[in-house]
C-alpha cells in the first residue's frame, strides 16, 4: 500500500514539475495585463525575463486612466512545488499621487505555501510602516494589519480612518 502511494505521489510531483516546466508564463502575464486593463490600469515599458521556475518583470511603469501612476523596479515570481512567491521591490508613486498615498513601498512579499493551501500571506514595508496580512482563498477575504509609521499618521489620516485600530495596529478587511 505504501509502495503504491509512494509511486503515485512521485507521479504527481513529476506531473506538477512538468506543468511548471511547460507553462506559458509570458502568456499568463499578458492575460493578467488584459485583466488589469479592464480596470483602466496598464503596465508598460517593462522587461520580461522568463525562466523554468521564475518569472521576472523589471522597470515597469504603471498607468492609471492614462496617467503615469507608479514605477516598479522589479517583480520577482518564483514557482516551486512547495511554494509560490511574488516579490515586489521599490514601488514608487509619481509625485502627483504623493498627496493621496505614501510614495515609497520598499518591499512586498506575497507567499503561497503547499502546507496552507487556503491562505496567501502578504508582508510589506514602506513609507506607510509595516504591513502584514492574509488572503483567505475559500472565504474570498482579505485581511490586512498595519503598524503605521509616523508619516502615515501625520499625512495620510484619511486612509487610516477607513481602518479599525486594534491593539496599536490598524486593521482592514475586504471581501471580494
Amino acid at each position: 500500500m505504501i509502495k503504491f502511494l509512494f509511486k503515485y505521489l512521485t507521479y504527481f510531483i513529476f506531473f506538477i514539475f512538468c506543468i511548471f516546466l511547460f507553462l506559458p508564463k509570458e502568456n499568463i502575464y499578458y492575460m493578467m495585463e488584459k485583466k488589469l486593463f479592464e480596470y483602466k490600469t496598464i503596465v508598460s515599458y517593462e522587461k520580461i525575463n522568463s525562466g523554468i521556475f521564475n518569472f521576472d518583470v523589471k522597470n515597469a511603469y504603471i498607468f492609471y486612466d492614462g496617467i503615469k501612476f507608479a514605477k516598479i523596479q522589479e517583480v520577482k515570481t518564483e514557482m516551486y512545488l512547495y511554494e509560490h512567491k511574488v516579490q515586489v521591490k521599490n514601488f514608487k508613486l509619481f509625485d502627483s499621487f504623493k498627496a493621496l498615498f505614501p510614495q515609497n513601498i520598499n518591499n512586498v512579499e506575497i507567499l503561497h505555501n503547499v502546507l496552507t493551501p487556503k491562505e496567501v500571506t502578504i508582508k510589506a514595508e514602506g513609507d506607510f510602516g509595516l504591513l502584514d496580512g492574509k488572503v483567505d482563498l475559500v472565504q474570498r477575504k482579505l485581511k490586512l494589519f498595519l503598524k503605521a509609521s509616523s508619516i502615515m499618521k501625520k499625512k495620510y489620516k484619511s486612509i487610516l480612518k477607513q481602518m479599525k485600530l486594534k491593539n496599536g495596529k490598524y486593521e482592514y478587511e475586504y471581501q471580494f
Partner: protein, 195 residues
C-alpha cells in the same frame, strides 16, 4: 536482456506519458491565452510635423538679415623646397650637360632616377654636371650639389719669366691665388720703362 529492457520501459513509460500530458495541457492553455501585451500609447500627443514659420519676414515687418557667408578658408599649398628636401645621390654626366641623376627624398628615403629635361615636382632638370645639377622652376635656377662636396678648389699658380742677362730682357712674375692676381713691381716698371 529482453526482460530487463521491458522493466526499464515499464518504468519510463508513465513518466513519458506524464510529460506528454503536461505538454498537451500547456499547449491548450497557450492557445487560450492572449499572445500580445498591453502597452501604453499616448494618443494625445500630436503627430503633425511642426514647422517654424516667421510671419513677420514676408510682410517686411522685420528686415531680413542677410545670411552670413562663412569665411572661405584659403589653404596655401606649401611650395616644395627642392634643395632642403633632396639629396643628390649619384650623377651620370655626359657631354653637353646631359645625363642621368639619382636623387633621394630626405622625408621618406625614396630614390628616383631623372634624365635631363624631366620634371620632379614642377622642377625641371636642365643641366647635369659632374658634381652638381641644375633644376629650373619659374625661370629660376636651383643648384643641387653632391653631399660632402667641397667648394671648388681655388686656382693657385705662378708664372715666372726670368730676364736674360745677355739680351737684357725683363723678368716676369705673376702669382694667381683664387680671385687675386699679384704682379711684381719690377715687371710693371719694365712696361713703364718701355713707354
Amino acid at each position: 536482456m529482453n526482460i530487463n529492457s521491458n522493466k526499464i520501459l515499464k518504468l519510463i513509460y508513465p513518466f513519458g506519458a506524464l510529460i506528454f500530458a503536461a505538454y498537451f495541457i500547456n499547449t491548450v492553455l497557450f492557445f487560450y491565452l492572449p499572445k500580445t501585451t498591453v502597452e501604453y500609447t499616448n494618443v494625445n500627443v500630436p503627430t503633425i510635423n511642426f514647422t517654424r514659420y516667421d510671419m513677420a519676414k514676408p510682410f517686411g515687418l522685420i528686415k531680413a538679415k542677410k545670411p552670413k557667408k562663412a569665411p572661405v578658408k584659403v589653404v596655401k599649398k606649401e611650395e616644395y623646397q627642392l634643395l632642403s628636401n633632396l639629396i643628390l645621390k649619384a650623377v651620370y654626366a655626359k657631354t653637353n650637360n646631359e645625363g642621368w641623376i639619382i636623387i633621394q627624398e630626405k622625408a621618406n628615403s625614396k630614390t628616383q632616377m631623372l634624365e635631363k629635361g624631366e620634371l620632379f615636382k614642377a622642377y625641371k632638370l636642365i643641366k647635369v654636371f659632374k658634381k652638381y645639377v641644375i633644376f629650373e622652376k619659374n625661370s629660376k635656377e636651383y643648384k643641387l650639389s653632391m653631399p660632402g662636396q667641397k667648394e671648388e678648389e681655388k686656382l693657385k699658380y705662378e708664372v715666372i719669366t726670368k730676364k736674360e742677362e745677355k739680351t737684357n730682357d725683363w723678368k716676369e712674375k705673376i702669382s694667381i691665388d683664387g680671385d687675386t692676381v699679384k704682379v711684381t713691381r719690377k715687371y710693371l716698371n719694365s712696361y713703364v720703362n718701355d713707354i
